[in-house]
């Protein structure tokens, strides 16, 4: 009996420890600076004090940062799924010649560190007048994410029942029609998992957006928060508010997409 509960209790304690950083940041984001200097960071705040969050929000135009992140991540998710489907259709269903080598290219592209691409991309985007635009991030991440998507979808579509496609061909459906009317609807569960993963992965990106989005009005949420670290203007409660504003969207996505994510996380494991 004691043993039965001791395991559960130690696992629950560990879970609590994992959640403590979230709680600490939340507590101090809603605490007034006076309360902080009087009682320190560990006590319960003496009331719900949202001024720090509001002030930080206005100072960095957090709404604008959210919009940039949404725009970039949303566009990348949709475009990368489309690109992955097109590639996987040619590789998995069409079995084009040389597909093994094409797959190797996608696999290598998927494992390449961004450090090995960043300087040429930076240079080329300046030449093309795309530096410091959200469009540059959309193009680059669409390609990077679709490398993974192609790799995954090609093996899924490789097992696609050929009878269905043959029957469609007899009905006079061309390759495009077969793709949009048959392959895409039937693969929808896999595609929606990919869509969500691409969205969240792009939202979480830091390295390339830090380098490419230097002007304030283009920055994404993680970049805006990252470059403000150590800013002398930020006091204890406002720093905490900034951390909370970084955490909240991620937790909201987690709650919205939880089912798909836990179902699909094994899919993502290949990345």
């Amino acid at each position: 009996m004691i043993r039965k509960y001791s395991v559960l209790i130690s696992l629950a304690v560990l879970a609590a420890v994992m959640l403590v950083p979230f709680a600490i940041v939340t507590l101090n984001a809603v605490r007034s600076p006076q309360d902080y200097s009087a009682n320190g960071p560990l006590s319960l705040p003496d009331g719900l004090h949202l001024d720090g969050i509001v002030e930080f929000w206005n100072r960095v135009d957090f709404g604008g940062k959210l919009w940039n992140s949404l725009l970039i991540s949303g566009s990348v998710a949709v475009l990368a799924v489309i690109l992955s489907v097109l590639n996987a259709y040619a590789l998995g269903v069409g079995r084009v010649r040389g597909r093994v080598w094409i797959m190797v290219v996608f696999l290598v592209a998927n494992t390449l560190p961004q450090e090995a691409l960043v300087y040429p991309l930076y240079y080329l985007s300046k030449e093309a007048g795309l530096y410091d635009t959200r469009l540059s991030m959309i193009i680059i991440f669409t390609v990077i994410q679709s490398a993974f998507g192609t790799y995954l979808l090609a093996s899924v579509l490789g097992r696609f029942p050929h009878e269905i496609l043959e029957a469609a061909a007899i009905d006079g459906a061309g390759k495009w029609r077969a793709l949009w009317r048959i392959v895409v609807p039937i693969s929808r569960p896999t595609l929606s998992v990919l869509l969500i993963f691409f969205f969240i992965w792009t939202w979480n990106e830091f390295f390339l957006p830090l380098i490419f989005l230097i002007s304030n009005e283009n920055q994404t949420v993680p970049v805006a928060l990252g470059v403000l670290q150590g800013d002398k203007m930020m006091d204890a409660t406002m720093s905490s508010a900034s951390a909370l504003l970084g955490v909240l969207p991620a937790v909201v996505f987690f709650l919205i997409f939880q089912r798909t994510l836990t179902r699909g996380v094994t899919v993502g494991a290949i990345k």
Binding site: K4, L8, L11, L14, A16, M18, L19, P21, F22, I24, V25, Y36, P41, L42, L83, A90, L91, V93, G94, V105, A109, T111, L112, P113, E115, A116, L117, V118, Y119, P120, L121, Y122, L124, V143, I144, S146, T150, I164, E166, A169, I170, K175, R181, I182, N204, E205, F206, F207, L225, G226, Q229, S242, G246, A250, T262, V265, T266, A269, I270, K271
Partner: protein
């Protein structure tokens, strides 16, 4: 949408038609065209350019000057370069090895113990708590901990102060910076193996555990002789993906320490960033990035090889 109902089509109509195989084998390359263009511009050309740049001295403006392998010989003699890889090893321990071991124990306990005695809902609630840090952008995870470990107003010093400990600059002290970053990365990473391993355990035949339990096998023996062999594929995947993630770490280092103090938390990724964008040593930065790429490709090939051998044995 009314899906075509090909299966319902009478067989008689289909039989006389020749199987339209030939029609479907040609012409699919058109679908690869958009990617061919985009991958050339975004991946292939930049990657080759980076390799080319690594053989030159270049400030990012003007013409690069050809150096041959000088950047690489300089690199292998550079103490900071080796230090960055030693720190990277520490992060592999923190992000791949520790989370895999702890994740195995947690997943097995949740699945075999908690799930059975307290129901699957308790197990999945605990799993969600372990997984929550994983949903954060890794830079934001760094910001959260940067606040907690802040020398002046952070909660960690306040908490340890309750026990009479002196306040410490966790991330500013060369002796503590790397262990602090390691701790943060363990916190960040641990949920991922738990989720993957629990998903893998769903596959395992419950009869195996029941038989072992009837034979009086201890928890430890069941863990060692059933759990681990059964989810071996997942263990490889987790080790590979986490090792690569550790080799690529940048966000937390940028946010927490900028590689400091005195290079105590310098990693190759940040080292190349410094050379590219702070020191304008583009050729040297490109050489670091190229070595990092080779290392990642070698690690991937090694893991795939081991996995392949294991598959053939079983």
């Amino acid at each position: 949408m009314a899906v075509h109902a090909p299966a319902a089509r009478p067989k008689a109509v289909r039989e006389p038609e020749p199987r339209p195989r030939r029609r479907r084998t040609g012409g699919y390359w058109v679908f690869l065209l958009p990617s061919a263009v985009l991958f050339t511009v975004v991946i292939v050309v930049p990657f080759l350019m980076n390799i080319g740049i690594s053989f030159t001295r270049w400030q990012g403006i003007g013409d690069p000057r050809w150096l041959g392998i000088d950047n690489y010989t300089r690199l292998f003699a550079d103490e900071r370069f080796w230090a960055s890889f030693r720190n990277n090893l520490a992060l592999i321990v923190a992000m791949a090895i520790v989370p895999t071991i702890v994740g195995l124990v947690l997943a097995a306990t949740l699945f075999d113990d908690v799930g059975k005695k307290f129901g699957p809902r308790t197990a999945s609630a605990l799993r969600a708590a372990y997984y929550l840090p994983q949903v954060l952008p890794v830079a934001v995870a760094g910001i959260v901990w940067g606040w907690i470990m802040h020398p002046r107003f952070g909660a960690l010093n306040a908490f340890l102060g309750l026990f009479g400990a002196e306040p410490r600059s966790w991330l500013g002290d060369p002796a503590w910076a790397l262990p602090s970053v390691m701790l943060i990365m363990v916190w960040f990473q641990i949920g991922y193996p738990v989720v993957i391993f629990m998903a893998g355990l769903q596959r395992v035949d419950p009869a195996l555990y029941e038989a072992a339990e009837m034979d009086g096998a201890s928890w430890w023996r069941r863990f060692w002789h059933i759990t681990i062999p059964q989810i071996r594929p997942e263990i490889y995947v987790v080790l590979l993906t986490c090792t690569i993630a550790a080799l690529k770490v940048f966000g937390p280092i940028f946010v927490l320490t900028r590689g400091g103090p005195g290079g105590a938390t310098l990693v190759p990724s940040y080292f190349s960033y410094q050379n590219f964008f702070e020191k304008a040593n583009v050729g040297y930065g490109a050489a670091i990035a190229t070595v990092l790429t080779l290392l990642i490709i070698m690690v991937t090939a090694l893991f795939l090889r081991i996995q392949d051998d294991e598959d053939r044995k079983s």
